[in-house]
Amino acid sequence: MPPFALTGTKLRERRLAAGLRQADVAARAGISASYLNLIEHNRRNVGGEVLERLGDALGIDRASLAPGSDSAVVEGLRNAVARADSASEAVELDRLADFLGRFPGWAGLMVALDRRVQTLERAVETLNDRMTQDPHLSQSLHEVLSSLSSVRATAAILAETEDLDPEWTARFHRNLWQDSERLALGAEALVSYLDAGSATAEQGIAAPQEEVEDWLRSRGWVFADAELAEGLEDEIAGLASSAARQLAAGHVAQAAKDASALPMPAFLAAVGETGPDPFALASGFGCDPIAVMRRLAGLPALSAGLVLCDASGTFTFRKAAAGFPLPRFGAACPLWPLYSALGHPLQPVEAVVEMVGQGGGRHQVLAWATPQRPLGPRGPELRIAGMLILPAAARAKPGDRADLAIGSSCRICPRAECPARREPSILS
């Protein structure tokens, strides 16, 4: 439907709402009643000075009458219909402009309600994940209960066994001390977790890794090289849990190594020449592509996301990119090129991916896995895999088709027929 249809319908609805006759409004605007009638029925385009005079006659801001002024609401209504699945078949999309013109308040309310539904769905996903999959909560409770069981059993033996020989007494006293220490640490972790969760409501920032990521987010994911040299000890000391402080210290130490291998001025100059290509940059600097990915993810201008995982596929670092939501708990979509790289170390994996579902978008992703043997050639092989997530425009051409449709995780992915699906979606 052409944009002017909205304007004519809006003029008619506002006139009727104000209880004015066509002839009166036409006279005030200096046009004939028959011409206004044509405009109101969307049979004549209207703009410029005539539209301004009609706006004045009806006491309406001209901007709200301009063609396209309701485009955000129209888009919002279309999105609401798209999300309504089977119920959307009964919606008269061909009369959307008419609906918006006649009932702008109701239309705005529908869009607001749809946005509210999206927010609540995200909260449901978060809480569902937290209740069913939160490994930190489960582990913390297990630690506390195990320590408590041991303390209770040992203390009862000490209190109730009158003829306990000194060797056993000493052994149980030592056990009691160990378990009380463990209980204190477990309780501290649990309290930190619950405090953080209640303070951040729906976001539920809590687990140590999330606490560190929240800290990094508050810094814009950026460390100046000079800050790294100083170690950021004061900031790290401000984190709530000892586990988070330990993770943060490790992250800063790694960032300092990356900064040493890829000094910022030279790195920026190289990025300017080659673009954000971690493989070319790694080759140029003679370093691991994952170090380059970490460095690129810290460049604010790039708006890049980054995920790192170990050989089990467990995330060790997450920085989301716009339109590429990352699961908070559990495993991600098995179609991610990150996992292809994990299975084929030292081989670059590159793809344009389309993230399906709410808020998804198209991205260029570049993945790589590096095997490591920290205990020497006979020790176990570890792997670290990384996937740099770039806005599609950074490398892919606008006309390029996505190589692969992917999701965030099965639990919140709408692709019912996906061959890689491992569990039903909670949104279906």
Partner: protein, 120 residues
């Protein structure tokens, strides 16, 4: 000869307390800390009773019970499970656990359950 109880528990201090308790009560007690080793130990030692923790490294307590019940030679072996989580009870019951004790347990409860299961 004293009847034999095999304790499968990965927390060393809990295991030490239970071993002490049961030994003083007249039971012969052996212990493994890793789920993967439990089945081999059961097959070689033929204990009269198994006390299993639910969450173990390697095979979980549930998986061990399932394997016991699936083996005709072991299927009748009495199993007492230590568990911290209520929702695990349904799983454990379906797997074939005879009795439960919730953590944190009282020593008297452990002794009472073992005596009852062994007909003392």
């Amino acid at each position: 000869m004293a009847q034999h109880v095999l304790l499968v528990e990965d927390e060393p201090n809990i295991a030490e307390a239970i071993r002490f308790l049961l030994s003083r009560d007249g039971w012969r007690v052996s212990h493994v800390a890793v789920g993967d080793l439990a089945l081999a130990q059961i097959r070689s030692d033929r204990p009269d009773l198994v006390i299993l923790d639910h969450m173990l490294p390697g095979l979980s307590g549930i998986e061990i019970v399932e394997a016991i019940r699936a083996d005709p030679d072991l299927a009748a072996l009495p199993v007492l499970m230590l568990t911290a989580r209520g929702r695990d009870r349904g799983l454990a019951e379906r797997a074939g656990v005879d009795r439960f004790i919730a953590k944190p347990f009282a020593n008297a409860d452990i002794l009472a359950e073992v005596r009852a299961m062994m007909g003392r």
